[in-house]
Assembly symmetry: C2
Homo-oligomer: 330 residues x 2
């Protein structure tokens, strides 16, 4: 762990003490060195992904610090999940304004601690710096996958079936609740949706099970249609999504009562951290059979065809116009 | 490359286009996937380090964008150098305020492009997000080192000689010039010092050559005495630095004319990105012989002894008091 910008050297020493117990992998050296060893096991590839979360953009200043930590970590673990990787560890670059107090940092470290247990990962190293701006959290997560087996965005072929895990749009609904209060909602609906926004659930077990079955895979962060558009572009196919098939939670109906409006919002809200993927038809049954072992519903939502782009089709197979396919942050 | 916070989706698409040509390693997939493959060559460890640089803390808002990019990359490459690693690639998490223009980003990408050639590294992936705050750049750099050979902070033993590469304090002098103008300095002195602040030189060749010779190693970022203090603490030794031996540039004398004041400032200013290291006496001549091949002066500055802490000694071996051993940012 290195501490730049030591205007607050005492405080930064405390931060290092706070984070050191999280660095329990051998290659982390208990944060006592400048770099970590992240060599993968023999026969495996090491996969790395980085994401930055900014206060006021990806989370609210008043959000509980332990949940902010969990979201920051889980956003990166979700990328690994969609690539079929077993998560191993992460590096943390934390930029902190002077107003942040030790109690906030303790809660933040506590959130990381809990999620390290939940996902079997270790803090491997990091950097703490001051900032005149908002809290900014950059996490680089590492995962292992059998050599050459990483699930890619490429690989979807015409005729492949398109699937998505879980339900779509809940995080967008949770964001509406946090902005508007969601007072009209039943409390358990509101709690469910806000929870989906604040603490996403990376689909690690599903991603691992998709190795050898899926032809292309991505986690839904920008928005379902936008992310399937990424698969369409890199695979050189068109992806037709049938609006009627989209898996939506019961809670979401209380946020957006109009059905077609709800579908379009859910398909574009993003921040879902479900896995959207394609598989050849001969693997269709095997894929649907994974729902139990992976602990998450899996829904067939469309087909890959010849052409380009990802589109949302109504019951008459007419394209539903979408203003913007991806996520708009608050 | 993932783009969160797509309030400016068109702009973020342009950024992805701008950075894609920098991703020329096979595992980067031209930034068309969510994660990169960073598996090291057989028989090697993969070493990773992360650093965040914040506008107004680590660089000035008006600094040339290509130099900001170079500094951000080189700060991480310097960590790899001190660990004896050959640099391989990096991930970039970039948080950008709305005021940033494409011309700035083009210059930023241009700086990365030049340094990728200079150091033989590739962009492997990244994340771009908006921020209501300052430009924040988090880089995670990867390097390779023969398995088990990474230079550590531990390993210094009583009797080991303490060395440092290059000259110390120039970056601190450069910062004084940038804040005060440095108008009284000769232009070539000012340019040299500002250059040392803005574009550090990671000592890659030296670090590699130190494998098998150095017992402990660190790059000087916090300040020479603070960083040697890290070696002292993790190795369980005391480090005596002889003030008279510190390698100082001629240019530095024009910033801080008083000799003892200059020495103390140089030993604590930080941001030097030289390598401070220890080696057993039997390797002393071999170490000094590396200066030519590594292209950087190497100076013997002290000894490791029994005890704890790193201290600066005057010609009479009296300890010179130091208010704070590490770097204070502007």
């Amino acid at each position: 762990m290195t501490n730049s910008a030591s205007e607050r050297p005492g405080e930064f020493a405390l931060i290092a003490e706070l984070f050191a117990p999280l660095a329990d992998a051998p290659g982390a050296f208990g944060l006592t060195d400048d770099a970590a060893i992240v060599t993968p096991p023999a026969g495996h590839d090491l996969v790395a992904t980085t994401d930055a979360l900014v206060e006021g953009v990806h989370f609210f200043a008043g959000d509980p610090a332990d949940l902010i930590a969990k979201k920051a970590l889980r956003v990166s673990l979700s990328d690994l999940a969609a690539k079929g990787c077993a998560p191993a560890g992460y590096l943390l670059a934390l930029s902190l304004p002077a107003r942040i107090e030790m109690s906030w940092l303790r809660a933040f470290a506590g959130g990381l601690h809990d999620d390290q247990r939940a996902f079997g990962v270790s803090l491997l190293g990091g950097d703490t710096t001051t900032t005149p701006g908002p809290v900014t959290i950059a996490i680089t997560a590492f995962g292992h996958v059998p050599a050459g087996a990483m699930l890619r965005r490429t690989g979807a072929r015409p005729g492949d079936i398109v699937f998505v895990s879980g339900t779509i749009g809940d995080s967008g609904g949770g964001l509406v609740c946090l902005k508007d209060g969601g007072a009209a909602l039943q409390e358990h609906h509101r709690a469910f949706l806000v929870g989906r926004f604040q603490v996403p659930q990376p689909r690690i077990a599903l991603g691992h099970a998709l190795l050898g079955l899926a032809s292309a895979s991505i986690d839904v962060s920008d928005g379902l249609i936008a992310d399937l558009g990424h698969i369409a572009e890199t695979s050189g196919v068109r992806i037709d999504v049938e609006a009627e098939r989209l898996p939506l939670s019961a809670a979401l109906a209380s946020v957006w009562p109009d059905r077609m409006d709800r579908i379009v919002r859910a398909a574009t809200a993003g921040d879902d951290y479900e896995i959207a993927f394609t598989a050849p038809p001969e693997h269709g049954d095997a894929v649907l059979g994974l729902a139990t072992s992976a602990g998450v519903p899996i829904t067939q939502i469309g087909l890959a065809t010849a052409g380009e782009g990802a589109v949302l089709l109504d019951a008459n197979r007419r394209q539903i116009p979408i203003d913007r396919p991806g996520y708009v942050h608050f």
